[in-house]
């Protein structure tokens, strides 16, 4: 029974995870969007602390040191050399420490964003004014028409990382998946990539985030995350249709 359950879980996680598990190494596919959300909270906290300290000091001083009679002058003490240097060096180091803290945290998540899992499903995305075309490994290709709402757009199986290999036929576009917290530009003459981990079945969207002319606002597509079985059926049907 236990074996059956674990087998089910493994299929859910996808074959590579199963293989990795079998090989004794526990390699879970990371979820960059979740890491992003986590980091976002850390960063917000950091900003709140700095912001509150400064704002509180500023507002308090503005209130406390308001002039009470005309002709009054300020009584700020003159900084001696040591305290002047101290007030420059200490904050500089505090800021620098915070910078490096944030840079290190950001870098960790960034590596997740750029290290594409080996088992990722590859889809080729071609942007052109003003739609996206998706091409799967086996030659199946789809497009979503914004005006008629026809076409499937990007369809991916749940639980399997997806890497998009992207280029553009005309101007600079940017493939922005708000729900997966990722975007990357695409342009003629170069290939760029991004990957995401569709952890939940459902429908979301991708939209263009780099100004591309008249119908920029309308350059979006459906992104459907379906179960592996549904995906297989869909792709088989597509293949027949094509």
């Amino acid at each position: 029974m236990k074996r059956a359950v674990s087998a089910l879980v493994l299929t859910g996680l996808g074959l590579p995870a199963a293989l990795a598990d079998a090989a004794g190494a526990k390699v879970a596919v990371p979820d960059p969007a979740a890491s992003w959300n986590h980091l976002w909270h850390d960063v917000l906290l950091d900003l709140f602390i700095i912001g509150i300290i400064f704002l509180a000091a500023g507002l308090y001083w503005v209130w406390k040191y308001r002039a009470t009679r005309p002709g009054q002058i300020g009584t700020a003490p003159k900084l001696d050399k040591i305290s002047a240097i101290g007030f420059a060096v200490v904050p500089a180091f505090l800021f620098m420490a915070d910078d490096f803290y944030l840079a290190a945290k950001g870098w960790t998540v960034w590596n997740e964003y750029r290290d594409v899992p080996r088992n990722a499903m590859e889809v080729k995305v071609t942007g052109s004014m003003w739609s996206w075309n998706f091409e799967y490994d086996n030659g199946v290709s789809t497009t979503f028409m914004v005006d008629t709402k026809e076409g499937d757009g990007l369809v991916v199986p749940v639980g399997k990382p997806v890497v998009l290999r992207m280029t553009s036929t005309d101007v600079v576009h940017s493939f922005f998946l708000p729900d997966y917290r990722v975007k990357e530009d695409m342009m003629p003459g170069r290939v760029t990539y991004l990957w995401f981990n569709p952890v939940k079945v459902g429908e979301t969207l991708a939209t263009c985030a780099e100004f591309c002319g008249n119908r920029h606002s309308f350059m979006w597509t459906k992104v459907k995350v379906v179960s592996q079985a549904d995906f297989d059926t869909w792709i088989a049907k597509k293949k027949q249709g094509a």
Partner: protein, 277 residues
């Protein structure tokens, strides 16, 4: 000798066509039996495609060859067939000569060269004969690998995935194929298609640097900076100087010059005026 002569001719034809305007083949010539347009690769379509993901290749000794076992370096992929004494051999020789002049890195250290045969009839014997003929310098030879497909039935499809087309001509008993090599990134994605008979060592070097641009070593910084001055020209199939880089750099220097120059000149005027007083 018949076969040899025709393959030579074929290589010349393709070379000539490529020289004329890279991929923009227009019409077949009287020498060729097939339309060279068939060989044309729409580079933009295939750039970034991963090669050899799930393909089994066999190495020089007939043992499984895995890209994953190669060091994490970009590589030059050379499609060839080992019984070919014409175009493929010339590609090999040309590549050998070109790589001699690539100063910043060498095979085995900065990159690897991997031959892959698209002839299902190639064997370990034909392979080793080809290698011997090619006479790669170095003892032992490093960085040059020769492979063939384990399963012949996948060859056309697998090579087609990276846009490489070839035809067997029963009449001439030879393959018609383009004289291309591919520069692949360390993870095996197509970064550039280069026609070895049409490029300089600089082009190969730039393509290799570009293929590993994310991982250049500190010692390669200078080469990398130089590479920024060039950009790939799809029309000509080679790297050309990127003029905007120089314009940008020049205008930045102009800005600094304006700052230093105008202050300097005024300083002179100012001092002269004050001496006059």
């Amino acid at each position: 000798m018949g076969t040899g002569r025709i393959t030579w001719l074929m290589a010349m034809v393709i070379w000539g066509m490529l020289l004329q305007g890279a991929w923009a083949f227009s019409k077949p010539t009287e020498h060729s039996d097939i339309d060279p347009n068939l060989f044309r690769i729409d580079e933009q379509k295939y750039m970034g495609v991963k090669f050899g993901n799930e393909v089994m290749l066999l190495d020089e000794n007939g043992k499984p060859f895995e890209f994953a076992n190669l060091p994490n370096l970009p590589f030059v992929l050379v499609p060839a067939y080992y019984t070919c004494d014409g175009a493929c051999f010339n590609v090999g020789v040309a590549l050998k000569e070109l790589l001699k002049d690539v100063k910043s890195m060498s095979a085995g250290k900065g990159f690897n060269v991997v031959f892959v045969s698209f002839d299902k009839n190639d064997t370990t014997e034909s392979l080793s004969k080809f290698v011997k003929q090619l006479d790669i310098p170095g003892d032992p030879v490093t960085g040059w690998r020769f492979t063939r497909y384990e399963k012949p039935e996948v060859i056309t499809q697998e090579m087609g995935k990276i846009g490489y087309k070839f035809f067997w001509s029963p009449r001439d008993r030879t393959f018609f194929h383009p004289t291309l090599v591919m520069i692949l990134t360390p993870e095996g994605r197509v970064a550039r298609y280069l026609n070895v008979l049409n490029v300089t060592p600089k082009d190969i070097e730039l393509a290799l640097l570009e293929a590993k641009s994310n991982q250049f070593k500190p010692s390669e910084t200078l080469d990398y900076l130089v590479s920024l001055c060039y950009s790939y020209n799809f029309k000509e199939g080679r790297y050309t100087l990127s003029i905007p880089v120089f314009v940008g750099l020049g205008s930045f220097l102009l800005g600094i010059g304006l700052l230093v120059g105008s202050l300097g000149i005024y300083r002179l005027i100012y001092h002269r005026k004050n001496i006059g007083k």
